[in-house]
Symmetry: C2
Subunit: 333 residues, 2 copies
Amino acid sequence: MSQSPKRSKLTVEEYVLGVKEQNRAILARAITLVESNAKKHLQLAQDVLTELMPQTGQSIRIGFSGVPGAGKSTLIEAFGMMLCEKGHKVAVLAVDPSSSLTGGSILGDKTRMEQLSRHPNAYVRPSPAGGTLGGVARKTRETLLLCEAAGYDVIIVETVGVGQSEVAVRSMVDFFLVLMLTGAGDELQGMKKGIMEMADAMFINKADGPNKQAAEQARVELDRMLHLLPPITEGWSTKAYTVSALTGEGVDHIWSVIQDHKEHMQQNNIFHKRRNEQALRWFRDLIEEQVLVEFYQNEKVKTILPQMQEQVLTGQSSATKAALEILEVKNEK
Amino acid sequence: MSQSPKRSKLTVEEYVLGVKEQNRAILARAITLVESNAKKHLQLAQDVLTELMPQTGQSIRIGFSGVPGAGKSTLIEAFGMMLCEKGHKVAVLAVDPSSSLTGGSILGDKTRMEQLSRHPNAYVRPSPAGGTLGGVARKTRETLLLCEAAGYDVIIVETVGVGQSEVAVRSMVDFFLVLMLTGAGDELQGMKKGIMEMADAMFINKADGPNKQAAEQARVELDRMLHLLPPITEGWSTKAYTVSALTGEGVDHIWSVIQDHKEHMQQNNIFHKRRNEQALRWFRDLIEEQVLVEFYQNEKVKTILPQMQEQVLTGQSSATKAALEILEVKNEK
């Protein structure tokens, strides 16, 4: 794992071979490559990924979300350690679009998950920095593929418990877990209900000591609400459970719920169906994002857009007319 | 309102004048024009709209949603009649993307809202047919503007209680009302919770006779849930109320809640802020929709897209690489 300050560049073949051989240092460099915003790295990164595609897809992909303060990191560490002890290889990634602004609220601090980070079977990687959610999500998705190619069979993607990043993570995992805190009724405070609809399971953390009974009450109430929602996975009932990262009680149950869920998906032929849908949706998103970027970067568009917006706001033009006019100007030769 | 079977074409000026003069027959023809999918009508429709833009914006725009069977039409009729009797001019529009497939589940049946339809102060228009939600939403939005220009000061946009059409309607109104049915606890069954987050008020219908007590219980429970959600309108508490379209009890309360809400928005300078945001968002959506349509209609793209999708699904190419390749092919001269 020692790195000389000036590293020689690797070829596509060296990256591919290194990842396949489960060389952690080369995996780390490959991830850095897909995370790079430099145009010259993009082609190389995609060549490496394309070569490794046949080695991907063999892991179980788990999304891990929850409100800040719910104890995600501590629980992921306990859960990851348990899996590593069972012989699994566990990668922990993150999607946190705020990380480039704030310096990283997830996994940015290297002292987090210290124990898990040192385990030979685990690989913990902070959220890529870099602007838009779309960019961060692409990088995490590709990192997930690299980790699969490097033999990690459990991939955990952590995310902050608010906003659109949950949707991005939901769209790249097989199983989506939402972590909550106790506090009867109030547990939904500040949490968008939309996230409940995305969950394959909800766990109430810190169900220990004097808090245990309140956690159990919150679980019952949550179960009742979940029962009213349409299931995110066809034929699967999303349920609420209690867990304690502190005492370890219930941590093994996370794994058995995930196993049950996977079995359910496989028996009903929805495991690969979902993966294929995710891959196609991702592909479409990538294309459409790029098409729109090209459009807004067009010089003619950049010139005319502010004027047209003004005309729409002041009622000088209908929105449709203004939109058509911009497209016409763009397409002029 | 008599129309000869072969109508002469109207000029932009004739449309504009007719709408301004509140001529119902010409308003109906102007709406038919913006609903037309024929390319030759598009330019004319947009010229008419642009001329009328200074006359728009003076109404209160109300979204009206709820599960099928909640009694939306009956309540809208009672509510609309009450407003007409007070001297308001009321237009009732609809967004129902399924109408082109099913023949129209909203307002398609002309016998619905029969009483209101005949009132001289009311104008009831079924949902435009026509494919995509985007298309239907655009047409309804433009119809809303035409109705404003024709002097209607209350515009009600009705929508089915499921899916993306609620989002489309939310984005074109000042106030969004969700109608529910009684049935303690079960009232959320089949209804996406997301819709609760969009509501400025929720009304429980059929609070009459032996059902009155159950409705009140449901109201209390709903209020408790709403209390946990972040408000859709800054500083406004979304509350639940009971109403009966049958007895008329509570119908006047709908109007007073809407008035309070408008006052709140105006006092806090969010009324015009929201309208401006909606207009810009709509403008952007129109542009982006059109940019993507152009992209997918590109002959080169049509040829290569299926192959690239196949490569992504079979793992022969990374999604990013395939996306980049398509864009490159498209941009080749």
